[in-house]
Symmetry: C2
DNA sequence: CCTTTACCTCAACTTAGCTTGAGGTACTAG
DNA sequence: CTAGTACCTCAAGCTAAGTTGAGGTAAAGG
C-alpha cells in the first residue's frame, strides 16, 4: 500500500484535510506528487509532514505564501531530515514569540485602554505597540488582516 | 464642528481608516449614523471609540461578526459608559488569554514536534491542543481560518 | 457665484484559502 | 466482469474584510 506511494484519499484521511485541499496545495506548490500509470497522484511519505507543518503554521497565523517560502529552504532532492525541519521551525519561533508578546501587550492594556478614552487617540498603547509590529516591513507582521477568532461569543 | 456631529471624513482621519471602511462598518451594523439635511452622515462621538475597539479587537484576531455580537451587549439608547466598554473588553480578555496560551503551547512544542515524527499523528501535541481549542463550539476559537502573519520571510 | 473638495449610492473587483460541481476515467471488491 | 468507489480536470462559487470606480449631489471657501 504505502509501498507504491500514498494516494490522495489516504493522505487526506491521515492528515484530516479534504482531497480538494491537497489538490489546492499542490497547485500552490506547497506539496508535490508523481503520477501512476492512470494519471492518479502518488505521494511520498514526507507529504504527511508537509501537510502537518502547513496546518501547524496556519494555526500560528502564517500564510500559505510564507509557508511556501519557508519550504523553499528545504532540500529539493533528498527527503528533508529532522534537522531540516528543525531549521524551518526555528525560523518561525521568533515570529511566534513576537506575536505572543504583542498579544500579551494587548491583553495587558486592553481593559485600561478600552475603558479609558485613549483608544481613539493616536498615542494609545494598544494602537501603537501593535502598529509598530504591524509595519516592520518584511518580517514579523501580525494579525493585520482577516481571519482568526470566529464567533467569540459575548 | 463637532458641535453638530462628526462627518465621515473627520472620523476616518481621526481613526486612521478609509471612508469606505466606515461605510462598510455601517453596512455591517457595527456603527451607525444619522443624516443631515443633505443626506450626509453625521456621527456621535462614541463612533470613535467603536472604531478603535473594532481595530483593537481585529488585532486580537476577532472577526467583525464577533465584534458585532459583542457590541450588541452595549446599551442601544444611551451612550456607552466606561463601564460598558470595560465589560465588553473583559469578555475578550479571556479569549485573548486562551489564545496566548495556545500560541505558547504551540511555541513550546514547535521545535520538538516539527522535528520529531509526531506531527503527522493524530496525537501530536500541537495538533490536538489546538484542535481542542479550535472546536469549543461557540466560544474561544482560534486562528482557524486565514489571516494573520503575512510574509514571514524566512 | 463658482470652483473645489467632500460626500452619496451602488456595483464590481480584490486576496486568501478553500469548496463544490460537472463531466469523465481508473481501481478494486465480489 | 461489473458495481461502486476513488480519482482526474477545470471552472465557478464562497467568506471575510475591504477597496475601487462610476455617476451624481452637497457644502465650504474665496
Amino acid at each position: 500500500m504505502s509501498g507504491d506511494g500514498w494516494t490522495v484519499g489516504r493522505v487526506a484521511k491521515r492528515c484530516g484535510v479534504n482531497v480538494s485541499t491537497l489538490h489546492f496545495y499542490e497547485q500552490k506548490g506547497l506539496i508535490h506528487s508523481t503520477r501512476n500509470s492512470g494519471n492518479q497522484r502518488r505521494y511520498e511519505a514526507d507529504v504527511l509532514r508537509r501537510v502537518s507543518v502547513i496546518k501547524a503554521a496556519q494555526k500560528m497565523g502564517i500564510s500559505l505564501g510564507s509557508i511556501k517560502t519557508a519550504f523553499a529552504s528545504l532540500p529539493g532532492e533528498r527527503t528533508p531530515t529532522m534537522e531540516d525541519w528543525q531549521n524551518l521551525s526555528s525560523g518561525w519561533q521568533a515570529e511566534l514569540d513576537a506575536r505572543i508578546a504583542c498579544l500579551e501587550r494587548l491583553r495587558d492594556s486592553l481593559t485600561g485602554c478600552i475603558g479609558c478614552g485613549c483608544l481613539s487617540m493616536k498615542n494609545c498603547p494598544i494602537y501603537n505597540e501593535n502598529d509598530k509590529l504591524a509595519e516592520e516591513g518584511p518580517g514579523p507582521v501580525l494579525l493585520n488582516r482577516g481571519g482568526g477568532l470566529e464567533d467569540g461569543g459575548h
